[in-house]
Symmetry: C2
Subunit: 202 residues, 2 copies
């Protein structure tokens, strides 16, 4: 029966993802080794390549799980009856908190570069889109007379800005700063952007 076979394959796949996730969370993406994860799950080295195309494919699946966790974390903090600026601030805070809490997994989302001849599959690229979507909503409220496409681009810009601020805060040289200061700085930044958007809107 092909039934049992498929199930076992799927089970191995999940266990490999879980093992890789733990390895990345503990030691960082750059220390992920095919030999380690296969030993962790108790299969042969070659077993990995019966379920994934290569290591990058496995990493993509780990990143996919991380994105789902991030999505769950961000949509949880969404409160619909707050002002747009407050909602944007909450999203930025949530993003910062997630990055701090799951440092290595979060870093893996952006440190991972698939080889030139094997770019990320379409389904994974689309997983990044929910981030833009989440931002687009409060943005629409903030600048209602903006075209749909312009707002999509602006959401991407805003995400890039927040991600950049969080990145440089966590990876830079000022990492001695307490998390509260980072949050305060990020809050200020978001409120500044929101104020500017509102001002230029009028």
């Amino acid at each position: 029966m092909a039934r049992k076979t498929l199930e076992k394959r799927e089970d191995l796949k999940l266990r490999l993802i879980e093992a890789a996730r733990n390895r990345i969370a503990a030691d960082g993406l750059s220390n992920l080794r095919a030999r380690d994860v296969t030993q962790d799950v108790g299969c042969a080295l070659g077993g990995l390549y019966t379920v994934f195309a290569d290591l990058d494919d496995l990493v993509i699946h780990v990143n996919s799980a991380t994105l789902k966790a991030l999505e769950a974390s961000l949509t949880l903090t969404e409160v619909r009856d707050h002002s747009p600026a407050d909602r944007l601030r909450n999203l930025a805070r949530g993003y910062l908190r997630f990055a701090v809490t799951h440092r290595n997994l979060w870093k893996a989302l952006f440190d991972h570069r698939p080889p030139d001849d094997r770019p990320s599959p379409e389904w994974h690229l689309e997983e990044h889109m929910f981030l833009m979507g989440i931002i687009a909503e409060p943005l629409a409220e903030l600048q209602p007379n903006m075209s749909e496409t312009a707002r999509a681009i602006r959401a991407r810009t805003l995400f890039g800005a927040v991600h950049g601020v969080v990145s440089i805060s966590l990876e830079g040289r000022f990492v001695g700063l307490p998390i509260e200061s980072l949050e305060q700085e990020l809050d200020d930044f978001i409120l500044t952007v929101a104020a500017g958007a509102a001002a230029r809107q009028a």
Copy 2:
């Protein structure tokens, strides 16, 4: 005489940096190979390790040169008698233009991760600081009653934001967009931040 020896060492060093720079510019950081650069300059494989600690050390020197070029490019476009917002916009534009023009060298600045047990030397970390310094000046004019340290942090935040916007614009999926649109979007973003800063200042 130790004179000639030192000169030859220095010459080899420079030639290796130049070769590595060309390789990175052409094929990207991830395709840089010790065997390639040593062949390019016509020395033995081991010769590289008589002048640099390892490949990462060589990359750091390439990045150092890239930062100098970026600095030259940005300070050139600085015009002191413009408004703070205009100056910030010019800096952001210059940054975007540099990233577009020297795509792979610019990417190498941030893609390169030295191994955990061998972080970047202090002198190289300080080279990144001029970027913050350049930003801090117009920022001081924009928000004069801000403390020195707060402004330093804000400059870092602002750089992170601009870098994030440029990154996501160039590496994301919307790369079909013409450069003019990216520039327009970045302009808008900067002016929004500047407007917000001015508004919250008052």
